[in-house]
Amino acid sequence: MKLPWSWIGEFVDIADVTPEEYAHALTMSGSMVEGIENAGSEIKNVVVGKIEQIERHPDADKLVVCQLNVGSETIQIVTGAPNVKVGQLVPVALHKSTLPGGVKITKGKLRGVLSMGMMCSHEELGMALEDYAGACEDGILILQEDIAPGTDIRDALNLNENVIDFDITSNRPDCFSVIGMARETAATFDKPIKLHKPEVKGGAGDVNAMAKVDVLDTEACPRYAARVVKNVKIAPSPKWMQDRLKNSGIRAINNIVDITNYILLEYGQPMHAFDLDRVAGHHITVRRAKDGEPMVTLDGAEHTLDSEVLVISDEEKAVALAGVMGGENSEITDDAVTVLFECANFEPTRVRRSAKKAGLRTESSARYEKGLDAEMIPDALNRACELVELLGAGEVCDGMIDVNHAQDTRKPVPFVPEKINQFLGTQISGTFMLEALKKLGFTIEGDTCLAPTYRIDIHEMADVAEEVVRIYGYDKLPTTPLRGETTMGGQSEMENKKDRIKAMLCGMGMYEIFTYTFTTPKMFDLLNVPQDSGLRNVVRITNPLGEETSVMRTTTIGAMMDTVARNLNLRNDQANLFEIGKVYLPQDGAQLPEERDKITMAFYGGSCDFYTVKGAVEALLAGLGAQDAVYTACTDNPMFHPGRCAAVEIGGKDCGVLGEVHPSVIRNYGLKTRVYLAELDLADILSQANGEKQFKPLPKYPAVTRDIAVLVDKTVPVYELEKVIRSVAGEVLEQVKLFDVYQGEQVPEDKKSVAYALVMRSHEGTLEEETINDIMKRTVEALDNTCGAKLR
């Protein structure tokens, strides 16, 4: 919220404080200042000049030579502007002056004639055409007021106003106003506040003879007050009012509308002005809209209302959306003669719903939504009428219609200084607290206090403590270490394991990635996921930013593929990546989905192949102590190459999948590189890998290694051979090492040669040659019988 310095100064004397000091002090007492704006801060050495003489330029038809009185002296300026006349007052940028944008003006010669500076247009002063009546499309700005030559142009055009921009928090609707911030200013600097009691002369007849107000929904409208102005003369409001509105970010319209906006800013109380002659029966009714009731608001937008919406209506039709915006049908136009000022209190939720329904958010609705003080209504309304009289904008009728059902819901709050000190960890004196609260408008009675009506945010001791400490100074709060019963810090076993897995994968040369957890439903098509797949059962976001981020992922493979694709497009020709991230699986009958962590790895480029990703998975599982992982060919996972995909099972539990990404998926992502990928379920792996270590005594007897090479059908997985070898050799077999798989010369087309080293050892004694030979013999037989493998 933007507040002009001079406006605050009307209520609190801040002449002895710099804007910077002010901004810091208010920020530290709870009203954060975002910045200080000053439209004229860049203008230097520009003054008002009076044109005393104009002569033709001796050598140029389009130029004239002017003599200007700039206060201390008369100077000569050459200009090409068509609109200059003797006697006019104009802005003059003197020699060595600065204009907005850092433009520097110095003396110089124009076609041989000396010019001691420049006369300025509105644009050169950083103003808009509509900012000032004397601004001219293609010429010099002509000052409209009689101002002494030599006056600083910033004073003359009110360009030197410091505007303080506050970021007001939602709990302090009272601060969305000049008076609210004046109260904070007074409390912060410990200065008195000068509140003005408006005085209205009136005399234009009784308001009750002019209009009638009925409030049908007193819950939604606790208070509705109105006054009437007759013989209205619509005109522009004076410059001082326009300047204040402009500096506060509101456009000036006409005197009546500007007055309502002035009250909005000064009191924080929204007002509306109706053209009473366009209000049927001069009878205002505050009621809920009928379902389907039509309404056109001031901005020309058409709305179809329902009973959730509160409207102001006349005897025929709705004339305003209560607290949000007026209707086009009762708007103040230039020929308005009689005006009714509405000054009301509406219930926050009702305004919020109306605003939402209408898709409108206005200065008015924003204030009502946060909750306003119904007590300020009479003063605010009277102030508006006082301004009408001050501006000569019309004749105010006597009396005020005031339908008041507002209730004071404030309750006394305990005020015990020791308790507040205990809570804050401070030793602030009771007297200081008392004074601070008084400054903030609280009344204290014994060990309770009562907040002022405009403080809707004070309910209990903690709220009072905050008031005390913000006036005392947050920067004076002591710092004490945590005390009390010691607690054991740490994280869950699952989190520890996660950290460990990340460390292991990094050790294997992979880089961790972070991806979005929401995605597009199209991802499933890119990944070849069948229409009836359970993966397509997703958590859907009802109000996504776009389709791209509209569903929560059920697989991490899409995000990994996106990352791979992005890296390939960036010409990163090689990558090893991993992510530990969640998937979100909807559960029948449960409101919330199951969130499961997945370990995802991907490799492309360099010399990587299927066995790279498999090796990484094996190393990870071994590191976690998952000994009995089984990899079986998986030909029906649509995301993976049917001949290069393995299901990962540990202890009979399905824990994930690894393999080469299906060539058609690669094509779907517009890639040309093979990608090797694994997706493992973290919890499933950890449930099967206890990771507990057990020591086995070191062997006392030597091991014997025997090699065996067999010819077997190409299609037989080596895992089948290994199973046979293990079952035959039994306990003495310490290790089966596959050391060669060969296809090619000397091996028939449909066969492969597979060579193993069998490491055998007994813990009872050195193995007898005979025993070993027997094992080898039986192994060879079994391989032949079970797998059709022939010894080479």
Partner: protein, 345 residues
């Protein structure tokens, strides 16, 4: 006579050994040859000694001593020569094996943790050291936990500032990690000291400083007699560990619906130490987190009596901390995972 022979053998052996050292043939074999020639069973010295019987008893000890001297001398010369030869060989080897040590090492390249993880781990370690447990909660969350229980009822204006992704009327993507506070307080009675790092979602359009997905680290302490000064003390300790012993913190009043009093917390700029620079936009301070005393209503919502217990809570944005730590200007880089970015950490 024998004396002369022995002296001759000694001299001859010495010459041969000296020649050996200079020779370039198969040193090992030649060496053995020389040794056998003089000291072997059929060697020259042995041959001479065999004739000892022919000597007179007076001559025998004299010649015996001389013979031993000659043998010892040959043995020593041989050993010296061997050592010298081995040394020469070693020198030669070292000369031949000179490497260009400026060439790159073999590829053992480790990967790395994402910068968000690296800094999160640091923060976790600091808090674990202070006796905090790490807690977690769901990202797809009930409205109750994300808003209602945190003092943000439906139609509360604070909901406007948190653009929420909804799944249904009562289910949403959490906009903050604060719901974990409620879940923890429902499960556990004080003393409570937790941090809850995690992903949060806001319906913010993506730009250099906004991401619809980001991470927060929530903190909560509830116990008897917990004060706002404790909050300040704790955060100061954390700031010092995170940013160095010289770091100072500053509390500014603010408003959060679920804490009262509330504060925004700044840390003295770690780039300029508070003098004002580009990083802190000349302020000398950098906002790092929001904090406050747990609102008594929030405690009541979790069946904790605010008359008996009090607590503080805080929340910080992980991305912002990491961006400032590494001077990263664009939040999108965290989720783009460009290898050239990842490899820098």
């Amino acid at each position: 006579m024998m004396k002369e022979m022995l002296e001759k053998i000694g001299k001859q052996a010495q010459e041969e050994i000296a020649a050996l050292v200079k020779s370039s043939g198969d040193l090992k074999a030649e060496f053995e040859q020389v040794r056998v020639k003089y000291l072997g069973k059929k060697g020259e010295l042995t041959g001479v000694l065999r004739q000892m019987g022919k000597l007179t008893p007076e001559e025998r000890p004299v010649i015996g001593e001389l013979a031993n001297e000659v043998r010892a001398d040959i043995e020593k010369k041989l050993a010296d020569a061997k050592a010298k030869i081995e040394d020469l060989k070693l020198q030669q080897q070292l000369k031949n094996e000179v490497l260009d040590v400026t060439m790159p090492g073999k590829d053992f390249s480790a990967g790395s943790l994402h910068p968000l993880t690296q800094v999160l781990n640091e923060v976790k370690d600091i808090f674990i050291g202070l006796g905090f447990e790490v807690a977690a909660g769901p990202e797809v969350e009930l409205d109750y936990y994300n808003f209602e229980a945190l003092n943000i009822p439906k139609d509360h204006p604070a909901r406007d500032t948190q653009d929420t992704f909804y799944v249904s009327e009562n289910v949403l993507l959490r906009t903050q990690t604060s719901p974990v506070q409620i879940r923890v307080m429902e499960q556990k009675k004080p003393p409570i000291r937790i941090i809850a790092p995690g992903r949060v979602y806001r319906s913010d359009a993506v730009d250099a400083t906004h991401s619809p997905v980001f991470h927060q680290i929530e903190g909560l302490v509830v116990d008897r007699g917990v004060t706002m000064a404790d909050l300040k003390g704790t955060l100061e300790t954390v700031a010092k560990q995170l940013y160095g012993e010289d770091a100072r913190i500053r509390f500014r009043p603010h408003h959060f619906p679920f804490t009262e009093p509330s504060a925004e917390v700044d840390v003295s700029c770690f780039a300029c130490g508070g003098k004002g620079c580009r990083l802190c936009k000349g302020e000398g301070w950098i906002e790092i987190l929001g904090a406050g005393m747990v609102h008594p209503q929030v405690l009541r919502n979790c069946d904790i009596d605010p008359e008996e217990y009090s607590g503080f809570a805080f929340g910080m944005g992980l991305e912002r901390i990491v961006m400032r730590r590494f001077d990263i200007q664009d939040i999108r880089m965290f989720f783009e995972n460009d290898m050239r970015f990842l490899k820098q950490f």
